[in-house]
Homo-oligomer: 324 residues x 2
């Protein structure tokens, strides 16, 4: 995997040889993005079990890395169910089937992103800016991206698309990852600090907001990178559509609403230091919630690989999820 | 003056020996904050004229440093009017009177901040957090501060006050200056990234928002540090009062509304680099508006040294300004 903590300054690939290394890579955000950590966790399960690790121990270790994105648990559960169904089979077969399944999850994720892109592209206005927050791109998935996949599909369909990328403090996924990805694709991108999003939304040159998601409750409340809620409120205040692009595996239909979604609190040093450089006085109190919840009333539509869900989400989301 | 670009890592004092050095210190934000640059500009006029500089040239040089904060022009005009009224007096007297006037502006600013604090303190809820953006503290003024002056006065009056300080990208005035000031005063402060403000406003533990201002139009529209508009919208959405604390010299009653206020656009490097460290890919497009305008409908009240203005501001602001 690309070490995402070192982008855009250097492109370094990390090879994980144990499931513990995979867990550590997820925890330290060497790999991040809900779909990407789902794929990584699936590969971690395959790696751990294939190396003779105990299934429960492997799955628990991988599950205890990050609490908010549900794709992690979805992927681990899928692998675990397969492993249990094979429990009376020879070790060699279990090993082969788990590896095959992890690779299938990766391939499916790319195909899912292509479908999300195709479903979302018609919603992107021609000749205006799309504002995005964090990185919901190829780096956050197995490839192509969810929110950035929609932007890519809109551009591929011939629309004139430019992007405002929120830098997304504290981890700077927008500045480091989204700007880097979109520059490689030749999609015109303007990097802004998070607190400029309101300025540009009010100015009127943003056609829509497009973000990914880490977990979506049954009622359409969306947990996503910290700051997403603010962008959603500002979009609504300025009558700009706010779209969420995510695979069905991001839905958590067991939760009635978003306030039940656990929000990860990360280390103070992510806020007080940037690439190791102190930006705040020593010893200052810090809060660092990594995600927030955007209530469904701010969400214009949720773009999935099976179609576009509109309010009321309590109807549309379960219906989409049940589609073959 | 303290070099504010080097805080909080080191406290370094800069001595300006020419008015051009004062202008450069304002332009490069060695000194910043609307009231503080007003005082610095007044001293720059005294320094320039006392050193034999041409009045118009000195004033023009100082006025061309930063376009948004009106206190700069207010202070230069005040000094210029005095100089012109003395034009038939001996050089020695002009020199002495200008220096005296600049020192008076400084002393008055401290007294004004104390009055703003006294007028604002009753508005601060007891036992809740105040959220502030940027630095409207002692560093942004001749002393005590506008928004932070209100917080200080509330704490001095015995209220239990804690602060959420937005870090305020790109220049990090919140992380570097507000956190540093409040830590010295022993006021409990939690540093957050700008995109976390919405999370804490929605959570319900913010009693009010308190910010400074760089220019206030006749209708109560407020130009202030980029991101202020976003905080104001989020405060309103969560029914949290949004207060602006500023001296009467920040009013620009010649402007009917905030959209006439010129917004300074600053260098891309402030966004792409943090203390010289690159945080974005080379060559990426960047926008860097240094201020935004918060429409008056989001402003609960404007706290001045002459009293608290409430909507409709077209009535209350001119009335306050006219008070002796």
């Amino acid at each position: 995997m690309i070490d995402q903590t070192r982008l855009p300054r250097e492109v370094v690939f990390v090879t994980c040889r144990t499931y513990e290394q995979v867990a550590e890579a997820i925890r330290t955000m060497v790999i991040r993005g809900a779909p990407a950590i789902g794929v990584a966790a699936a590969m971690g399960v395959a790696l751990g079990v294939a190396s003779g690790g105990d299934l429960d121990r492997v799955c628990d270790t991988l599950a205890r890395t990050r609490p908010t994105a549900v794709n992690l648990f979805w992927a681990i559960d899928r692998m675990k169910r397969l492993a249990l169904s094979l429990s009376n089979r020879p070790a060699e077969e279990i090993r082969a089937r788990l590896i095959e399944e992890a690779l299938r999850i990766r391939e499916q994720d790319i195909a899912i992103n292509r479908s999300i892109g195709a479903n979302g592209a018609p919603l992107v206005p021609d000749g205006k800016h799309v504002l995005t927050h964090c990185n919901a791109g190829a780096l956050a998935t197995a490839g192509y991206g969810t929110a950035l996949g929609v932007i890519r599909a809109a551009a591929e369909s011939g629309k004139k698309v430019a992007v405002y990328a929120d830098e997304t403090r504290p981890f700077l996924q927008g500045a480091r990852l989204t700007a880097w990805e979109l520059a490689q694709d030749g999609i015109p991108t303007t990097l802004i600090t998070d607190n400029m999003a309101g300025y540009f939304l009010r100015k009127g040159d943003v056609g829509c907001v497009l973000v990914g998601a880490d977990r979506i409750a049954r009622n359409g409340d969306v947990a996503n990178k910290i700051g997403t809620y603010s962008v959603a409120v500002l979009a609504k205040e300025n009558s700009v559509p706010f779209y969420v692009a995510a695979p069905i595996s991001t839905l958590d239909l067991t939760l009635a609403g978003g306030d039940e979604i656990p929000i990860e609190q990360r280390a103070a040093s992510e806020v007080t230091h940037v690439f190791g450089v102190a930006v705040a006085p020593e010893g200052i109190g810090v809060a660092n919630p990594a995600f927030d919840v955007t209530p469904h009333r701010y969400v214009t539509a949720i773009i999935t690989e099976k179609g576009v869900a509109r309010p009321p989400y309590t109807d549309s989301l379960p219906r989409l999820a049940a589609l073959e």
